[in-house]
Amino acid sequence: MIERAIIDNATEWLMPRIPSALASTVAKADIVEALITLSELPNVAATFLIPDLFPKIDLEVLYVHDIDSSIKDVIQKQKTDERCSVPALTAIGAAIRNEMVVTGTEVMTFKPDGLAELIVFPPRVRAAVLHATGTTLLPTVS
């Protein structure tokens, strides 16, 4: 789990960047709850890509796990009971996209616990991100 202080700071960072059209539909508490739920991601001892974490926002998320974390760490960490809403996830994605537009950038990197890494980017730069992180995506077994 990520420290609560980091979640609060992330919320403060996101709120002013959420487009006004969405801001009226999402309360600050919704953003906090969504971030708390997402904060469980650093529990995972594997690298994976989520193409649709932010509904209706064309951004993908690559989670790059910390090599030194073990499956035991995953078992021991507790899950949250927080409720995460779809509008809150959309608002988070929209805020990130807004910041990319304002800064003329395409890749956001965030290390919530200083070890594992979250990388957010539009689909058109997926190949570059995968190459930069040495990641190969395999087809999943259905």
Partner: protein, 283 residues
């Protein structure tokens, strides 16, 4: 505590990562959440929990599936080595993999090409795949290479491997460094196998007068090589005097400058030692 996200262009991101050097090869999967199809808050959290709970096994299954599609065992083992660090394959398992595929240079190269090669695997590679030149050269690019492995490779039949030994040592050793016995033995081994091509790497980091003399005796008197001896503060006076009196060096472009600098070093030493300058100095 404030940890902020970083925003970059894709080009900057790629350039920064490449600059960090060799990266750990990772394998992963893409997982769709389909959150957009959900309308109930509770199910979003449940769906995310389900992803978190299952993604490790999903990735492992995908890897197993890929490996099973490879019919050639050597290729299978090589692929396992490529992702060994990110999958945390234990040292003993890596040794077993290497033994199964030791005759294959593809396997040995993949084992040596890991960002961090376990020490036991380094020695196993040396012992069982020493004749694989490409593998040994790859091993010599590793920063965690054990000095005893380096020392053994100093006498490798391949001149390319021996040169890489000199490079490995020269790029990592500092002249002021107090060497462990193992590192000293590795350095001694490559000096004993000295060839002039090693000069750029070995001479700047040598502190022993006898070894500097030994290398000087086997180095052509071209200014670029001679300069290495002049710039090393541990070069014995005898070597500097030979440089000063070298007609070969003097006649080559840049030779006069090097000789002049050698003269200055000698004169400086005379002043500091307060010895009359008509006394022939030597060790």
């Amino acid at each position: 505590m404030s940890i902020k996200p970083t925003f970059q262009t894709a080009q900057q991101f790629l350039a920064d990562r490449i600059q960090l050097g060799a990266m750990i090869k990772r394998v992963g999967v893409a997982i769709n959440t389909k959150f957009g199809e959900l309308g109930n808050n509770q199910r979003v959290s449940e769906r995310l929990h389900a992803i978190i709970d299952s993604v490790f096994d999903t990735v492992q299954s995908a890897i197993d599936d890929k490996l099973s599609a490879i019919s050639d065992e050597s290729e299978q083992i090589a692929v396992q080595f490529i992702y060994a660090q990110s999958r945390k394959i234990a040292e003993n398992d890596q040794l077993a993999m290497l033994m199964r595929g030791k005759s294959s240079s593809m396997v040995s190269h993949a084992a040596a090409n890991q960002r961090h090669v376990p020490v036991a695997v380094q020695f196993a590679l040396l012992e069982t795949c020493g004749e694989h030149v490409s593998t040994m050269r790859t091993l010599l690019t590793k920063t965690n290479l054990h000095p005893n492995v380096v020392g053994t490779l100093a006498t490798h039949p391949s001149s390319e491997v021996r040169l890489d030994v000199a490079k490995h040592i020269g790029m990592r050793m500092k002249i002021a460094e107090n060497l462990t016995n193992e590192k000293q033995n590795a350095y001694n081994a490559i000096v004993d196998a000295y060839e002039a091509d090693y000069a750029d790497y070995l001479i700047p980091v040598c502190k022993r007068a006898d070894q500097i003399q030994q290398m000087f005796d086997e180095t052509p008197m071209v200014p670029s090589k001679v300069r290495l001896f002049v710039d090393n503060p541990y070069t014995p006076d005898r070597v500097l005097l030979d440089i000063i009196s070298s007609t070969v060096t003097k006649l080559m472009p840049g030779g006069s400058d090097v000789i002049e600098d050698a003269r200055k070093v000698i004169e400086n030493r005379i002043v500091h030692r307060k010895i009359p300058n008509d006394v022939v100095l030597g060790f």
